[in-house]
């Protein structure tokens, strides 16, 4: 029970972290550097999963992506495949739940980059894309990394939305937090304990690295 849950968690969290990093940085960039009217509304919507009960977010995800969901029904009609109760669903649930942390961190990190650095780059003839990758990204790197580490931790601990959208199928969608719950409910205290220890250890390491990354240093 421990080993499959551990493997699955690792798989789910890896995919989720990559998704979150790319999407969160992109969304954070738009929120930090672009001016548009519905900006704060967009920010609020993206932050919603952070404040909503995870089961509510999970419920909305079913409404959206379930077999009869708003988007899910087209996906099913086209491919005969549905997201619900697959390991991919766990990836989606974890990503949606952890994305707000990344968006918030990325927005803050990118906003803290003095816009005049980008202007200097433009004045030296560089385009938006080159400026982003060679100036903005390196200057915001620590803040972005901190956001990635935090959202990794959030994705790893995801429970409620995962349970709603992916279910709790051992070896298929049962991630570590779900396995702890099941082990505890069925009286298998030792298994629950081992899993809890693994997650606690991971969390400590995560906080440690986040602190190192966000600590202001003399270089960079």
């Amino acid at each position: 029970m421990i080993w499959p849950a551990f493997k699955l968690s690792l798989l789910v969290v890896s995919f989720a972290t990559v998704l979150i990093s790319v999407m969160g940085t992109g969304l954070g960039f738009v929120l930090a550097k672009r001016q548009f009217r519905a900006k704060e509304l967009c920010d609020a919507l993206l932050t919603l999963p952070m404040v909503l009960p995870p089961t509510v977010t999970g419920y909305y995800l079913i409404l959206l992506l379930g077999r009869h969901g708003l988007l899910g029904r087209y996906l099913y009609a086209l491919t005969g495949w549905t997201l619900a109760f697959t390991w991919e669903a766990a990836v989606v649930a974890a990503s949606v739940m952890a994305l707000p942390i990344m968006v918030k961190s990325a927005r803050a990190a990118l906003e803290s980059v003095d816009a005049r650095y980008e202007m200097v780059s433009f004045s030296l003839g560089k385009g938006e894309l080159e400026t982003f990758f060679r100036v903005t990204l390196p200057l915001a790197f620590r803040g972005l990394m901190a956001g990635i580490v935090l959202s990794f931790a959030r994705a790893l601990g995801e429970f409620g939305a995962t349970l709603m959208l992916a279910g709790n199928i051992p070896g298929k969608t049962q991630t570590m937090p779900l396995a702890i719950f099941e082990a505890f409910m069925s009286g298998e205290d030792r298994q629950a304990q081992s899993l809890a220890l693994i997650l606690t250890f991971t969390s400590i390491v995560t906080i440690y690295f986040t602190n190192i990354l966000t600590r202001p240093s003399k270089s960079a």
Binding site: M119, V120, S121, F122, S123, L124
Partner: protein
């Protein structure tokens, strides 16, 4: 040649809070854009760079049209080929000095870029620091690297926004000389924004005085600063005479130095500069005593003879603009102005203590 005509209004809650309406031409050399803060200097610079968009106007550099409100032209900043130097340097902190300079260089190969970067750093006398990060450099070194950085993309004009105001006096002095040298070597026009009269007189080939969004006077810096046309200009440039000269001689025993101002000689407190070194001297206009008759022995080391050219009345005080070999502003009270009958054309003698002649740079 830069030819700019810029109109821009700033509004808060629909009310116009500031309006800029400036036209000017910058030919070769270093043009100084001088004015108190809030006079519109930075908006002009930002408009030329393409960061701010004027409401109306036309900006062209040689045959390149940067902006034309009538034809709807607004060239993006990337295509204007402008070098920009800031007060706080703005070097990329994650790159070394050489990498910073290489960043804007268009050469195809990394080696070509690095060679050209080292060449530029060498030109600024800072090649020794090529592998250091900006935060390992002093302010003066950073600004040298920033100059090389801005020249990296081979710009057609260099815009300098108060480039020296964060530096100490000795470094400012050295860098002013280097900026002038750099302009002569690079042969592109420099537009130099400052609110320091000493900077303006030292580096400027021409000066534009900006006040409340309008260009109120333009001309040679020493003339503009010491012969303001009216009270608006007088207020903008301040009450100090700013004179550029060369060290002529020293008398260390008496603690004085003689400065050649071109049209006349001035006795100042002793300075340790070598002979013929360029200096800028400041004399506050209310530190000068006016007399209609030649006065015999006084403790003041300078007695200059000249005429009043014109008179600018500003409230209870009157600025006399005199020609005594050089132009000098003299501020007197309205009472003294009437009692001495100080009309334009009148012959005057000016008494200036050596200690009132401050070495600005």
């Amino acid at each position: 040649m830069l030819n700019a005509k810029i109109k821009k209004e700033f509004r808060t809650n629909g009310r116009i809070t500031f309006s800029l309406d400036a036209s000017f031409v910058l030919r070769q050399g270093i043009g100084v854009l001088f004015g108190p803060s809030g006079s519109g200097k930075t908006t002009i610079l930002r408009s030329i760079a393409g960061i701010a968009v004027p409401d109306e106007g036309r900006i062209e550099l040689g045959e390149h049209v940067y902006f034309d409100s009538e034809k709807g032209i607004n060239l993006p900043i990337q295509r204007r080929r402008i070098g920009f130097v800031f007060q706080d340097y703005l070097l990329f902190p994650h790159l070394t000095a050489a990498q910073n300079v290489a960043y804007g260089i268009g050469s195809a190969t990394p080696k070509g870029r690095r060679d050209r970067a080292l060449e530029l750093l060498d030109l600024l006398g800072i090649a020794y620091a090529s592998d250091r990060r900006p935060q390992q450099l002093s302010g003066g070194e950073q600004q040298r690297v920033a100059l090389a950085h801005a020249l990296g993309s081979d710009p057609v004009i260099l815009l300098l926004d108060e480039p020296l105001s964060a530096l100490d006096a000795a470094t400012r002095l050295r860098l002013m000389g280097e900026i002038v040298d750099l302009q002569r070597k690079s042969k592109i026009p420099f537009l130099y924004v400052t609110h320091s009269p000493a900077d303006a007189v030292r580096v400027g080939d021409s000066a534009l005085i900006l006040s409340a969004g309008r260009i109120v006077q333009e001309g040679k810096p020493t003339e503009v600063f010491n012969a303001p046309r009216d009270s608006v200009v007088a207020r903008a440039v301040g009450s100090e005479n700013i004179l550029a000269g060369k060290v002529q001689d020293h008398n260390e025993r008496e603690g004085i130095s003689m400065i050649d101002l071109g049209g006349c000689e001035l006795v100042t407190p002793y300075n340790a500069l070598p002979k013929a070194a360029p200096v800028t001297i400041g004399i506050r206009s209310d530190d000068i005593i006016v007399s209609r008759q030649r006065i015999g022995q006084t403790s003041a080391r300078n007695l200059l003879e000249g005429r009043i050219m014109h008179v600018v009345q500003d409230g209870p005080e009157v600025d006399l603009l005199t020609a005594c070999g050089v132009n000098l502003k003299v501020r007197v009270t309205a009472g003294a102005f009437e009692a001495l009958d100080l009309k334009p054309g009148a012959k005057v003698f000016l008494l200036i203590k050596a200690s009132s002649c401050h070495l600005l740079s």
